[in-house]
Amino acid sequence: MNTVAPLIDTAAIRSEFPILATSTEDGRPLIYLDNAATSQKPRAVIDAIRHYYEHDNANVHRGLYDLSRRATEAYEGARDRIARFIGAAFADEVIWVRGATEGINLVAHSWGGANLKRGDEIVLSVLEHHSNIVPWQLIAERTGAVVRFVDIDEQGRIRLDELRAVLASGHARIVAIGHVSNAIGTIHPVQEIARLAHEAGALLVVDGAQGAPHLKIDVQALGCDFYALSGHKMCGPMGIGALWGRRELLDAMPPYMGGGEMIDYVGTDGSTFKTSPHRFEAGTPNVGGAIGLAAAADYLDGIGHDALWSHEQELTRYGLEVLGGTDGITIFGPHDAAERTAVFSFALEGVHPHDVATIVDVEGVAVRAGHHCCQPLMRRLGVPATTRASCYLYNTTTEIDALARALERARAVFR
C-alpha cells in the first residue's frame, strides 16, 4: 500500500509514551486501539504531575505561605493554558470539572434548572453519548421541558434539514451536540449548527470529549455557547476536564454545588457566592490534574494541530481502505475521510462484536466491543453492538494492518 509521508515522526512520538514500550502478558507489543475510551499519557504529562506533587503541593487560594502561592499560581496558570488551547477570550470562562460528563451536567443543572420551563425543547442528535443525553433527560423531568432527537443520514451525519424542522417549532432553548462522535467518528458541522441554533433563539452546548483530542479548537470561531472536554482523552490525566462557557451566561448562572472555595460570605441566614469560575468550583480542586492537563495542551500544541490532523487523516484513509476491504466488514460512519476521525466502528458478518474483540485481543490488539455509551445510535443503526478501533497520534498503519489480520482470523474461526 502507498502511504503519504507522515508529517509527524511516529517513532519519536511513540518513544514519548512509556506505556507503548510495554508489552502484553505474553510478550507481544501493545497495539492500543481504544483511544476513544481513553488516551495514553506522554512522559511530559506524567512528569508535570509528579513535579507538582514533589515540589508545589499545597491547597490553593487559602494559604498565605509561599508553597500555597506557588500551587495557586500553577493552578490558575493551567486555567490560562486551557483557555488558550481552546481559543477562549477570557481565562475565567474556563471551569474545572472532572470531565465532559460533569461539564454537561453542570450546564444542564445550573443553566437548565434556572431557565427551562414546561414545553421548552432540548434538541439532541441520535449520535450522542449517554453523557450528552441523560443529564438533559433528568433536567427535562424536573422542569417539564421536552427532549427531542434529530436523526442522522445513512453515513451517520446529522441531518441538518431535520434539525431545521425541529427548530422551526420555536420552542428550542438548548441544542446539545457532540463535536465528534465517539462511536463512529463523525465530525459535526458545529459552526453551521451554532448558526441554526442561534437563529432559533437556542443556545448551543458542544460535547467536546472527542473534539478536543483531535481537532484545533477555537470556541469563538465555532460560535457555540458552552464546550465541555475531558482531559484523559487528550493525553491528560483522568479526573480533570474543562467546561468553557460564554462569560455573560456563566455570570448569570446559579451555583452547581455548594461548599468551600465558591462562597463570598456564609451566614446562618444564607450565603453569597463568588463570580465565575470559582462559583462553580466547590471544594478542594484537582490541582495536580489541572497541571497535568495544561502539560497535555503544551504537548499537543507542540506537535502542532496541522501535523496531528494530517497524521490522523492518513490513518483514517488507510483504515477505511484496508479494513473496509476486508471480507464481510461494514464500517459505520462517513465514507469521506475529511468528515470523520480515525474511529472505525464496524460489523463483521457472522461474528458477534464481543467475539471479535476476544479474538483480536488474543492477537494482541486492544479494541472495544459494545454500545459505546450510545444505545440510541445502536438502535438507529440496527445493531446490538459494534466493534470499535479508535486511533490517536501514536498509532500507525502497521497497527491497522495487524488489526486487519486479526479480523481475517476471526472470520476464519467462525467460518
Binding site: H354, D355, P384, V413
Partner: protein, 147 residues
C-alpha cells in the same frame, strides 16, 4: 506461572460454534409457566428463557436471544440438558456449571454436563464468564420464582 493468553481454540470449540450457528430449542414456547428475560447491559447480550414446569419437572425449555457465541451456545446447550429434568437436578447442574466457569477441573470433567463441557475453556477468559452464565442465571431466577 504461565501468563500467556490461552489459545483461541480452547475458547471457540467446534461444538460451541455449531450451537451458535444452529441453536437448539430456539423459538417462542406457547403458554410458558416460566418466562424470564435477562440482559447483560455492558455488552447487550440478551436471552429470554421460557419453560413449562409440571410437578417439579422441567417439561419443556425454549429460548430466544441475541448475543455472542458463548452466551447463545451456552443457553442452547442448557435447554437441551435440563429438558425433562426435575427442577432440583437442573439447579444442581447450574451450580456445577458455575463451578466449571470458575475453573473447577472436577466440574469440567463431570459427564452429566454433556456438551456444556466444551465451554470449560471460557474459565480462562474471565471477561467472558458472564456471557456463559447468562442463560443459567435466567434458569435459576426462573425456577426460583415458580418454587
Amino acid at each position: 506461572m504461565d501468563r500467556s493468553t490461552p489459545p483461541l481454540n480452547s475458547l471457540f470449540q467446534e461444538l460451541i460454534l455449531e450451537h451458535y450457528k444452529r441453536p437448539r430449542n430456539k423459538g417462542e414456547l406457547p403458554d410458558p409457566d416460566v418466562s424470564i428475560h435477562m440482559k447483560n447491559p455492558t455488552c447487550g447480550d440478551e436471552v429470554h428463557l421460557q419453560m413449562h414446569v409440571k410437578d417439579g419437572v422441567i417439561a419443556n425449555a425454549m429460548f430466544v436471544g441475541e448475543g455472542c457465541s458463548i452466551s447463545q451456545a451456552s443457553i442452547s446447550m442448557m435447554t437441551q440438558l435440563v429438558k425433562g429434568k426435575p427442577v432440583d437436578e437442573a439447579l444442581g447442574l447450574a451450580a456445577q456449571f458455575t463451578r466449571m466457569m470458575h475453573g473447577d477441573a472436577d466440574a469440567a470433567r463431570d459427564k452429566r454436563m454433556g456438551d456444556l463441557r466444551s465451554l470449560a475453556g471460557v474459565a480462562k477468559f474471565p471477561v467472558r464468564v458472564k456471557c456463559a452464565l447468562l442463560g443459567w442465571n435466567a434458569l435459576e431466577e426462573g425456577v426460583g420464582k415458580t418454587g
